[in-house]
Chain length 209, copies 2
Protein backbone atom coordinates (compact mmCIF):
# COMPACT_ATOMS: atom_id res chain seq x y z
CA UNK A 1 0.00 0.00 0.00
CA UNK A 2 1.16 3.53 -0.74
CA UNK A 3 1.22 5.93 2.22
CA UNK A 4 0.86 9.72 1.89
CA UNK A 5 4.33 10.36 3.36
CA UNK A 6 7.50 8.45 4.22
CA UNK A 7 7.19 9.30 7.92
CA UNK A 8 3.65 7.90 8.04
CA UNK A 9 4.93 4.71 6.42
CA UNK A 10 7.72 4.42 9.01
CA UNK A 11 5.33 4.75 11.95
CA UNK A 12 2.84 2.28 10.43
CA UNK A 13 5.61 -0.27 9.85
CA UNK A 14 7.03 0.17 13.35
CA UNK A 15 3.60 -0.19 14.96
CA UNK A 16 2.72 -3.26 12.92
CA UNK A 17 5.75 -5.09 14.34
CA UNK A 18 4.07 -5.07 17.76
CA UNK A 19 2.16 -8.22 18.78
CA UNK A 20 -1.54 -8.17 17.89
CA UNK A 21 -1.25 -5.02 15.76
CA UNK A 22 -1.77 -5.52 12.03
CA UNK A 23 -1.28 -3.04 9.20
CA UNK A 24 -4.88 -1.72 9.48
CA UNK A 25 -4.70 -1.02 13.21
CA UNK A 26 -1.21 0.46 12.78
CA UNK A 27 -2.58 2.89 10.16
CA UNK A 28 -5.52 3.80 12.39
CA UNK A 29 -3.17 4.54 15.31
CA UNK A 30 -0.88 6.61 13.07
CA UNK A 31 -3.73 8.71 11.65
CA UNK A 32 -4.98 9.22 15.20
CA UNK A 33 -1.54 10.44 16.33
CA UNK A 34 -1.35 12.90 13.40
CA UNK A 35 -4.54 14.49 14.64
CA UNK A 36 -3.22 14.85 18.19
CA UNK A 37 -1.00 17.72 19.33
CA UNK A 38 2.65 17.05 18.51
CA UNK A 39 3.73 17.21 22.17
CA UNK A 40 1.49 14.21 22.93
CA UNK A 41 3.24 12.17 20.23
CA UNK A 42 6.62 13.36 21.50
CA UNK A 43 5.80 12.27 25.02
CA UNK A 44 5.07 8.73 23.78
CA UNK A 45 8.32 8.78 21.79
CA UNK A 46 10.34 10.02 24.77
CA UNK A 47 8.77 7.43 27.07
CA UNK A 48 9.89 4.76 24.58
CA UNK A 49 13.42 6.18 24.37
CA UNK A 50 13.72 6.04 28.17
CA UNK A 51 12.33 2.50 28.41
CA UNK A 52 15.50 0.49 27.79
CA UNK A 53 17.79 3.08 29.34
CA UNK A 54 16.08 2.97 32.74
CA UNK A 55 14.99 -0.67 32.98
CA UNK A 56 17.21 -3.41 34.37
CA UNK A 57 16.80 -6.99 35.54
CA UNK A 58 16.91 -7.46 39.33
CA UNK A 59 20.16 -9.31 40.12
CA UNK A 60 18.35 -11.44 42.66
CA UNK A 61 15.01 -12.48 41.20
CA UNK A 62 15.18 -11.37 37.52
CA UNK A 63 12.19 -9.00 37.94
CA UNK A 64 12.28 -5.67 36.09
CA UNK A 65 13.65 -2.80 38.10
CA UNK A 66 15.16 0.67 37.84
CA UNK A 67 17.94 -0.39 40.25
CA UNK A 68 20.18 -3.45 40.75
CA UNK A 69 17.75 -4.97 43.26
CA UNK A 70 14.01 -4.64 42.64
CA UNK A 71 11.35 -3.11 44.90
CA UNK A 72 10.07 -6.51 46.00
CA UNK A 73 13.49 -7.99 46.90
CA UNK A 74 14.45 -4.85 48.81
CA UNK A 75 11.14 -4.65 50.73
CA UNK A 76 11.95 -5.84 54.26
CA UNK A 77 8.31 -6.34 55.17
CA UNK A 78 8.03 -9.26 52.72
CA UNK A 79 8.54 -12.89 53.74
CA UNK A 80 12.00 -14.24 52.81
CA UNK A 81 10.90 -17.81 53.46
CA UNK A 82 8.66 -18.26 50.40
CA UNK A 83 9.67 -17.91 46.76
CA UNK A 84 6.97 -17.88 44.08
CA UNK A 85 8.45 -19.05 40.75
CA UNK A 86 6.83 -17.55 37.63
CA UNK A 87 7.64 -17.72 33.93
CA UNK A 88 7.42 -14.07 32.91
CA UNK A 89 7.21 -10.56 34.40
CA UNK A 90 3.57 -10.38 33.31
CA UNK A 91 2.76 -13.33 35.59
CA UNK A 92 4.50 -11.61 38.53
CA UNK A 93 2.50 -8.41 37.92
CA UNK A 94 -0.74 -10.42 37.70
CA UNK A 95 -0.05 -12.08 41.08
CA UNK A 96 1.00 -8.75 42.66
CA UNK A 97 -2.31 -7.26 41.53
CA UNK A 98 -4.22 -9.84 43.60
CA UNK A 99 -2.56 -8.54 46.79
CA UNK A 100 -2.60 -12.14 48.12
CA UNK A 101 1.10 -13.00 48.17
CA UNK A 102 3.65 -11.34 50.44
CA UNK A 103 6.74 -13.47 49.78
CA UNK A 104 9.45 -13.07 47.12
CA UNK A 105 9.46 -14.02 43.45
CA UNK A 106 11.76 -15.67 40.97
CA UNK A 107 11.23 -14.96 37.26
CA UNK A 108 12.47 -17.84 35.08
CA UNK A 109 12.27 -15.88 31.83
CA UNK A 110 10.21 -18.55 30.04
CA UNK A 111 9.50 -22.27 30.29
CA UNK A 112 11.17 -25.42 28.99
CA UNK A 113 9.96 -25.83 25.41
CA UNK A 114 11.87 -28.21 23.11
CA UNK A 115 9.71 -27.06 20.17
CA UNK A 116 10.82 -23.45 20.62
CA UNK A 117 14.38 -24.51 21.44
CA UNK A 118 14.19 -23.37 25.07
CA UNK A 119 16.09 -25.69 27.42
CA UNK A 120 16.81 -25.37 31.16
CA UNK A 121 20.03 -23.46 30.41
CA UNK A 122 18.13 -20.57 28.85
CA UNK A 123 16.13 -20.09 32.05
CA UNK A 124 17.20 -18.49 35.34
CA UNK A 125 17.28 -21.83 37.19
CA UNK A 126 20.83 -21.82 38.61
CA UNK A 127 20.19 -18.48 40.29
CA UNK A 128 17.00 -19.93 41.83
CA UNK A 129 18.93 -22.95 43.24
CA UNK A 130 21.60 -20.58 44.57
CA UNK A 131 18.92 -18.54 46.36
CA UNK A 132 17.43 -21.72 47.87
CA UNK A 133 20.89 -22.66 49.15
CA UNK A 134 21.80 -19.23 50.54
CA UNK A 135 18.51 -17.70 51.66
CA UNK A 136 16.43 -19.31 54.37
CA UNK A 137 13.70 -20.62 52.03
CA UNK A 138 11.05 -22.94 53.46
CA UNK A 139 8.64 -23.11 50.54
CA UNK A 140 8.79 -22.75 46.76
CA UNK A 141 5.46 -22.11 45.03
CA UNK A 142 5.46 -23.10 41.36
CA UNK A 143 3.11 -20.64 39.61
CA UNK A 144 3.67 -21.88 36.06
CA UNK A 145 1.23 -22.03 33.18
CA UNK A 146 -1.07 -25.06 33.21
CA UNK A 147 0.15 -26.38 29.86
CA UNK A 148 2.28 -29.40 29.01
CA UNK A 149 5.34 -27.14 28.84
CA UNK A 150 4.49 -25.59 32.21
CA UNK A 151 4.10 -29.09 33.68
CA UNK A 152 7.45 -30.21 32.21
CA UNK A 153 9.15 -27.14 33.68
CA UNK A 154 7.54 -27.80 37.07
CA UNK A 155 8.71 -31.44 37.05
CA UNK A 156 12.28 -30.44 36.10
CA UNK A 157 12.39 -27.66 38.69
CA UNK A 158 11.04 -29.83 41.53
CA UNK A 159 13.76 -32.44 40.92
CA UNK A 160 16.50 -29.80 40.85
CA UNK A 161 15.17 -28.03 43.95
CA UNK A 162 14.96 -31.26 45.96
CA UNK A 163 18.53 -32.19 44.94
CA UNK A 164 19.70 -28.93 46.52
CA UNK A 165 17.43 -29.05 49.57
CA UNK A 166 15.48 -32.30 50.14
CA UNK A 167 13.52 -30.86 53.08
CA UNK A 168 11.97 -27.90 51.27
CA UNK A 169 8.22 -27.72 50.66
CA UNK A 170 7.35 -27.43 46.96
CA UNK A 171 3.78 -26.44 46.12
CA UNK A 172 1.94 -25.43 42.98
CA UNK A 173 -0.93 -23.01 42.58
CA UNK A 174 -4.39 -24.63 42.55
CA UNK A 175 -5.59 -26.08 39.28
CA UNK A 176 -9.37 -26.12 39.04
CA UNK A 177 -12.54 -24.38 37.98
CA UNK A 178 -12.02 -20.62 37.49
CA UNK A 179 -14.31 -18.20 39.36
CA UNK A 180 -17.67 -17.62 37.71
CA UNK A 181 -17.46 -20.66 35.44
CA UNK A 182 -20.21 -23.25 35.06
CA UNK A 183 -19.30 -26.94 35.39
CA UNK A 184 -21.24 -27.83 32.25
CA UNK A 185 -18.93 -25.84 29.98
CA UNK A 186 -15.65 -26.66 31.73
CA UNK A 187 -13.27 -28.91 29.77
CA UNK A 188 -12.70 -32.48 30.96
CA UNK A 189 -9.07 -32.06 32.02
CA UNK A 190 -9.86 -29.05 34.22
CA UNK A 191 -12.88 -30.81 35.72
CA UNK A 192 -10.96 -34.02 36.44
CA UNK A 193 -8.08 -32.00 38.00
CA UNK A 194 -10.56 -30.07 40.12
CA UNK A 195 -11.77 -33.40 41.54
CA UNK A 196 -8.26 -34.74 42.16
CA UNK A 197 -7.08 -31.52 43.84
CA UNK A 198 -10.28 -31.03 45.88
CA UNK A 199 -9.96 -29.32 49.29
CA UNK A 200 -11.79 -29.84 52.54
CA UNK A 201 -14.90 -27.68 52.67
CA UNK A 202 -14.84 -25.01 55.33
CA UNK A 203 -17.23 -22.19 56.20
CA UNK A 204 -14.22 -20.09 57.18
CA UNK A 205 -12.44 -18.66 54.15
CA UNK A 206 -8.80 -19.78 53.73
CA UNK A 207 -6.25 -17.49 55.35
CA UNK A 208 -4.00 -15.35 53.17
CA UNK A 209 -0.33 -16.30 52.72
CA UNK B 1 -1.64 -0.80 39.60
CA UNK B 2 2.02 -0.57 40.62
CA UNK B 3 4.57 -0.96 37.81
CA UNK B 4 8.12 -2.25 38.33
CA UNK B 5 9.68 1.04 37.14
CA UNK B 6 8.67 4.62 36.39
CA UNK B 7 9.67 4.31 32.73
CA UNK B 8 7.47 1.23 32.29
CA UNK B 9 4.57 3.17 33.82
CA UNK B 10 5.16 6.08 31.41
CA UNK B 11 5.11 3.84 28.34
CA UNK B 12 2.01 1.95 29.54
CA UNK B 13 0.17 5.22 30.18
CA UNK B 14 1.19 6.68 26.81
CA UNK B 15 0.12 3.54 24.95
CA UNK B 16 -3.20 3.33 26.76
CA UNK B 17 -4.15 6.79 25.45
CA UNK B 18 -4.28 5.34 21.93
CA UNK B 19 -7.72 4.31 20.61
CA UNK B 20 -8.63 0.67 21.23
CA UNK B 21 -5.66 0.08 23.56
CA UNK B 22 -6.54 -0.52 27.20
CA UNK B 23 -4.21 -0.81 30.21
CA UNK B 24 -3.79 -4.58 29.75
CA UNK B 25 -2.81 -4.39 26.08
CA UNK B 26 -0.55 -1.40 26.83
CA UNK B 27 1.27 -3.45 29.47
CA UNK B 28 1.61 -6.42 27.11
CA UNK B 29 3.09 -4.16 24.40
CA UNK B 30 5.49 -2.57 26.90
CA UNK B 31 6.74 -5.92 28.24
CA UNK B 32 7.17 -7.06 24.63
CA UNK B 33 9.28 -3.98 23.84
CA UNK B 34 11.49 -4.54 26.89
CA UNK B 35 12.37 -7.96 25.52
CA UNK B 36 13.29 -6.56 22.08
CA UNK B 37 16.68 -5.05 21.27
CA UNK B 38 16.85 -1.41 22.30
CA UNK B 39 17.51 -0.19 18.74
CA UNK B 40 14.12 -1.59 17.66
CA UNK B 41 12.38 0.45 20.36
CA UNK B 42 14.44 3.50 19.41
CA UNK B 43 13.43 3.17 15.77
CA UNK B 44 9.74 3.26 16.76
CA UNK B 45 10.44 6.29 18.98
CA UNK B 46 12.32 8.10 16.23
CA UNK B 47 9.59 7.35 13.69
CA UNK B 48 7.12 8.94 16.09
CA UNK B 49 9.32 12.01 16.63
CA UNK B 50 9.53 12.53 12.86
CA UNK B 51 5.79 12.07 12.33
CA UNK B 52 4.55 15.59 13.06
CA UNK B 53 7.71 17.28 11.82
CA UNK B 54 7.43 15.83 8.31
CA UNK B 55 3.67 15.69 7.79
CA UNK B 56 1.65 18.59 6.40
CA UNK B 57 -1.83 19.14 5.02
CA UNK B 58 -2.01 19.57 1.22
CA UNK B 59 -2.95 23.22 0.55
CA UNK B 60 -5.28 22.12 -2.23
CA UNK B 61 -7.19 19.06 -1.04
CA UNK B 62 -6.33 18.76 2.69
CA UNK B 63 -4.73 15.31 2.19
CA UNK B 64 -1.62 14.46 4.22
CA UNK B 65 1.64 15.21 2.46
CA UNK B 66 5.34 15.80 3.01
CA UNK B 67 5.16 18.87 0.74
CA UNK B 68 2.77 21.81 0.25
CA UNK B 69 0.88 19.97 -2.50
CA UNK B 70 0.25 16.23 -2.10
CA UNK B 71 1.24 13.41 -4.48
CA UNK B 72 -2.28 13.06 -5.84
CA UNK B 73 -2.84 16.77 -6.59
CA UNK B 74 0.57 17.05 -8.27
CA UNK B 75 0.11 13.89 -10.38
CA UNK B 76 -0.62 15.17 -13.92
CA UNK B 77 -1.91 11.80 -15.10
CA UNK B 78 -4.97 12.11 -12.83
CA UNK B 79 -8.29 13.55 -14.00
CA UNK B 80 -8.81 17.18 -12.93
CA UNK B 81 -12.49 17.03 -13.84
CA UNK B 82 -13.68 14.80 -10.96
CA UNK B 83 -13.36 15.51 -7.25
CA UNK B 84 -14.17 12.76 -4.77
CA UNK B 85 -15.16 14.29 -1.41
CA UNK B 86 -14.31 12.20 1.68
CA UNK B 87 -14.54 12.83 5.41
CA UNK B 88 -11.12 11.66 6.59
CA UNK B 89 -7.69 10.67 5.29
CA UNK B 90 -8.46 7.04 6.15
CA UNK B 91 -11.36 7.11 3.65
CA UNK B 92 -9.08 8.51 0.94
CA UNK B 93 -6.51 5.77 1.57
CA UNK B 94 -9.25 3.10 1.47
CA UNK B 95 -10.45 4.37 -1.94
CA UNK B 96 -6.87 4.65 -3.27
CA UNK B 97 -6.30 1.01 -2.28
CA UNK B 98 -9.13 -0.09 -4.61
CA UNK B 99 -7.24 1.38 -7.61
CA UNK B 100 -10.64 2.30 -9.11
CA UNK B 101 -10.57 6.09 -8.96
CA UNK B 102 -8.21 8.26 -10.97
CA UNK B 103 -9.55 11.75 -10.22
CA UNK B 104 -8.70 14.14 -7.38
CA UNK B 105 -9.87 14.17 -3.76
CA UNK B 106 -11.07 16.67 -1.23
CA UNK B 107 -10.77 15.80 2.47
CA UNK B 108 -13.40 17.60 4.58
CA UNK B 109 -11.78 16.76 7.90
CA UNK B 110 -15.00 15.33 9.39
CA UNK B 111 -18.75 15.56 8.91
CA UNK B 112 -21.48 17.87 10.16
CA UNK B 113 -22.43 16.62 13.62
CA UNK B 114 -24.40 18.94 15.91
CA UNK B 115 -24.02 16.40 18.75
CA UNK B 116 -20.22 16.61 18.58
CA UNK B 117 -20.33 20.38 17.95
CA UNK B 118 -19.03 20.10 14.37
CA UNK B 119 -20.66 22.62 12.04
CA UNK B 120 -19.91 23.45 8.37
CA UNK B 121 -17.33 26.06 9.44
CA UNK B 122 -15.10 23.40 11.03
CA UNK B 123 -14.91 21.52 7.72
CA UNK B 124 -12.87 22.34 4.62
CA UNK B 125 -15.97 23.34 2.59
CA UNK B 126 -15.00 26.86 1.41
CA UNK B 127 -11.80 25.49 -0.12
CA UNK B 128 -13.87 22.85 -1.96
CA UNK B 129 -16.23 25.51 -3.38
CA UNK B 130 -13.21 27.60 -4.40
CA UNK B 131 -11.76 24.61 -6.26
CA UNK B 132 -15.08 24.01 -8.04
CA UNK B 133 -15.08 27.67 -9.14
CA UNK B 134 -11.44 27.79 -10.27
CA UNK B 135 -10.67 24.28 -11.52
CA UNK B 136 -12.57 22.80 -14.45
CA UNK B 137 -14.64 20.37 -12.36
CA UNK B 138 -17.44 18.44 -14.10
CA UNK B 139 -18.37 15.98 -11.35
CA UNK B 140 -18.24 15.85 -7.57
CA UNK B 141 -18.57 12.36 -6.03
CA UNK B 142 -19.74 12.42 -2.42
CA UNK B 143 -18.06 9.45 -0.72
CA UNK B 144 -19.36 10.12 2.79
CA UNK B 145 -20.31 7.64 5.50
CA UNK B 146 -23.79 6.16 5.15
CA UNK B 147 -25.00 7.50 8.49
CA UNK B 148 -27.46 10.25 9.31
CA UNK B 149 -24.55 12.66 9.82
CA UNK B 150 -23.04 11.63 6.49
CA UNK B 151 -26.41 12.17 4.80
CA UNK B 152 -26.78 15.62 6.44
CA UNK B 153 -23.31 16.60 5.25
CA UNK B 154 -24.10 15.35 1.72
CA UNK B 155 -27.34 17.39 1.64
CA UNK B 156 -25.58 20.56 2.86
CA UNK B 157 -22.67 20.12 0.45
CA UNK B 158 -24.90 19.50 -2.58
CA UNK B 159 -26.83 22.74 -1.94
CA UNK B 160 -23.61 24.72 -1.54
CA UNK B 161 -21.99 23.18 -4.62
CA UNK B 162 -25.04 23.87 -6.80
CA UNK B 163 -25.14 27.48 -5.59
CA UNK B 164 -21.60 27.90 -6.92
CA UNK B 165 -22.05 25.91 -10.13
CA UNK B 166 -25.63 24.85 -10.99
CA UNK B 167 -24.50 22.75 -13.98
CA UNK B 168 -22.14 20.44 -12.12
CA UNK B 169 -22.91 16.71 -11.77
CA UNK B 170 -23.12 15.60 -8.13
CA UNK B 171 -23.07 11.87 -7.48
CA UNK B 172 -22.75 9.67 -4.41
CA UNK B 173 -21.12 6.27 -4.05
CA UNK B 174 -23.52 3.31 -4.34
CA UNK B 175 -25.45 2.35 -1.22
CA UNK B 176 -26.40 -1.33 -1.22
CA UNK B 177 -25.51 -4.87 -0.23
CA UNK B 178 -21.78 -5.32 0.44
CA UNK B 179 -19.87 -8.03 -1.43
CA UNK B 180 -20.20 -11.50 0.05
CA UNK B 181 -23.26 -10.64 2.17
CA UNK B 182 -26.42 -12.72 2.28
CA UNK B 183 -29.75 -10.93 1.84
CA UNK B 184 -31.28 -12.74 4.79
CA UNK B 185 -28.94 -11.08 7.30
CA UNK B 186 -28.86 -7.61 5.70
CA UNK B 187 -30.61 -4.86 7.67
CA UNK B 188 -33.85 -3.41 6.33
CA UNK B 189 -32.51 0.06 5.50
CA UNK B 190 -29.65 -1.33 3.42
CA UNK B 191 -31.99 -3.76 1.67
CA UNK B 192 -34.58 -1.10 0.88
CA UNK B 193 -31.84 1.27 -0.39
CA UNK B 194 -30.42 -1.51 -2.55
CA UNK B 195 -33.84 -1.82 -4.21
CA UNK B 196 -34.26 1.94 -4.69
CA UNK B 197 -30.75 2.38 -6.14
CA UNK B 198 -30.90 -0.76 -8.32
CA UNK B 199 -28.94 -0.72 -11.62
CA UNK B 200 -29.67 -2.23 -15.00
CA UNK B 201 -28.32 -5.77 -15.18
CA UNK B 202 -25.53 -6.24 -17.69
CA UNK B 203 -23.29 -9.19 -18.53
CA UNK B 204 -20.47 -6.72 -19.21
CA UNK B 205 -18.90 -5.44 -15.98
CA UNK B 206 -19.17 -1.65 -15.45
CA UNK B 207 -16.21 0.34 -16.78
CA UNK B 208 -13.78 1.90 -14.33
CA UNK B 209 -13.83 5.66 -13.76
Amino acid sequence: MEYPTESIKNVVESFSKLPGIGKKTALRLTLYLIQRASHEVDSLANALLALHKNTFRCKNCNNLSDREICNICSDNSRDNGIICVVEEIGDLLAIEKTNTFKGRYHVLGGRISPLEGVGPNQLSINKLLERILNENVQEVILALSTTQEGDTTAFYLSKEILSVNPNILISHIAKGIPSGASLEYTDELTLSRSLIYRSQYSVISPSKT
